[in-house]
Amino acid sequence: MAGAAQTGTDRAEHAPQQPSLRQSLSIQRRVLGALLIREMLTRYGRHNIGFLWLFVEPMMFTLGVTALWTATKSVHGSDLPIVAFALTGYSSVLLWRNMPGRCIGALWSNLSLLYHRNIRVFDIYAARVILEFGGATISFATLSLLFISVGWLKPPENVLEVAGGWLLIAWFGGALAVTLGALSHESELVDKLWHPFSYLLFPMSGAAFMVDALPKIAQDYVLYIPMVHGTEIVREGYFGTRAHAHYDLAYVIPFSLVLTLAGLLAVRWVSARVVPE
């Protein structure tokens, strides 16, 4: 990851001996591991089911929405089974929406960690992104297996494509999370605006419709929204040609690249200004 290399060289400036890239990577791995465990313990504790909440919580969300959509027989403009539609759609929403939610304000509550020289601002965001990614992924996989085993869902036609689409959404979500997280340390507006923004974005994110079902003019506009592409790919992986997916890798990959760069710059900017308590 670009961030690992960046923090690696940053650290080398001050450390007693110039560590090699391998040493830097091992420090990075150790720090992220320690942060992940700390994060899980503080968030879920050791009571009742403990860290299982990590994916039980998104599972409950997805199950609830699936049940709701099934009960109201929601119109989604395709002949895909509603259970499958809800599972792929809502899991994708959780993936891109929870990562920024957890990263906004993350630095404020972890300022004291900066006294440990090996922990950099980026690591704090990275740990939270990884944790959210893990939770959403386990939830999606578990529910898929569950629905497949009870026969509500057919196994995906192309597992690799599902994974590819999923990773694309995660990449976008992670880059967005790091960017917003860093900006939120400098301006409270980010936190205030993110909540309405994420709610409004939800119906437009491709979770509740197939692009194919929209009128042509709406399709052109809706494809400017990056996570629509990932969701379409996930569905194509699941349902094959039945899904009639619309997406454009030549748009969404450069978009995520630029956003990643913006995020890293924002982190760099915040790191230079941050004042630990």
Binding site: T42, Y115, H116
Partner: protein
Amino acid sequence: MIRLTDVRKVYRTRFGHNVVLDGIGLEMHMGERLGVLGRNGAGKSTMMRLISGAERPTSGRIERTMSVSWPLAFGGAFQTMLTGVDNIRFISRIYDQDFARNLAFVEEFSELGAYLREPVRTYSSGMRARLAFAISMIIEFDCFLIDEIGAVGDARFHDRCNHELFGKRGDRAMVIISHDAAYVRDHCNRFAVLHKGKLAHYDDFDEAYEDFREHIGLSNRKVSVPALPGHGIAPGRSALIEVSQHRALQDDRFRALVMEGDWRRDARAWAEAAGRYAAALALYPYQRSYWVQHGHVSKEQGLFERAEISYRTACALGEPVQDVAEHLAFVMAQQGLDIDAAPPGRYRKGEVAGQAPGQSDIDLFARAVWLCDPAIGIGDGDRARLLRAHATCDALLAAMIGDPRAAAATRGTQGGEAAGEESGEATGGSEEWIRTLCAVAFAPADLPRMVAAAQAITGMEDAWRHLLAAGGFADWPLAQAALQQAALQQAQTPEFKS
């Protein structure tokens, strides 16, 4: 080696740029222990954070070829939702250390027992300090940053900390900041004073301390009273007492004076210690705990009457009587007196007139009613007599109004003599006295009149007249009766007039 070259740190605030460090330089090697003195808010902690690398300078270079610790005894470094053990595990992972060995060390050193398995948020502040220090010791840094370690824990814990730091790790580099200058003096071999963004270096503690004293305004003859918010009056005597407790301890001048008093007390130089405490109490007459210290050092000198006054004042200002009674009984017995004949007053909230008086009140009133020069003061014999005889501020003031010195003062000012016009000498001390006097004279609800009186009064000569004109002491029945009595007597003896 750690080297800071021309380091500047500027914070952007809502009201412009705040230059905290303005080009400081520093070089540290193994075995050097640097003690940094500086007043509150001088930027000592900012400097620590820059050295530690947790924060970056606005400009300048910071080079490190040694590993540097986080600021020691810094409790924020651990997560309070987690248990002590979880925190140890986290630190061990971050620094790639053997967890089992670290846990054993912390268990042994912190003596927290089963609490180590409980969340840190359930710990007392002393327990947190023990955990924080123990965790700080598990990583072997080359340079330790020590921020206010003297502030927590008991004496035995201090000894153990000092052994770990200065005994076992005496070969390391250290940067120490502390409000306790004696701690810096005893543990450092280099010194620096941070003032107005600049860092000055010294090899000798006394030189450094002398400059530090000057910066906080103790060496200067003209004492500048720090500007207080608003009109600077604490409304009411109760508020005055409560505010004085912490405001005094935040004032660098008060802290330095009592600290110097403590050093001299520890060296058994009782008279000098008493002098420092008295100077500190002159700044904050309603600060209760150092009246007790003043009593102790007076007692050690055999000045039992002096000690009695200080103890009585401490009780009146709210020091628990149980803690002082034993000493008070002793110094009274030494004078052939019985404490039960004149028990000490207790502090209680409510109407000022009914509160127990102390030396602070006697001196306050003497300046207004008797025009008693504060530089000379009134005798301890008078003070002791007044405090033994009068249980309330009201009774005290009435007695002082009935005293011949009050009548003499009235004649003095009415006759237009106005001896010793202190025109060019409107000292800060007198402003403080006016504020204090007004705070005592009016009920807290009377704030507008209190402020009006404070603004009308210019000095000792006209204070009493303005106070009474503005309605001061209106709800002090005994004082009012004494005033009427005094007016009658004055009318009956017209020959003294003009």
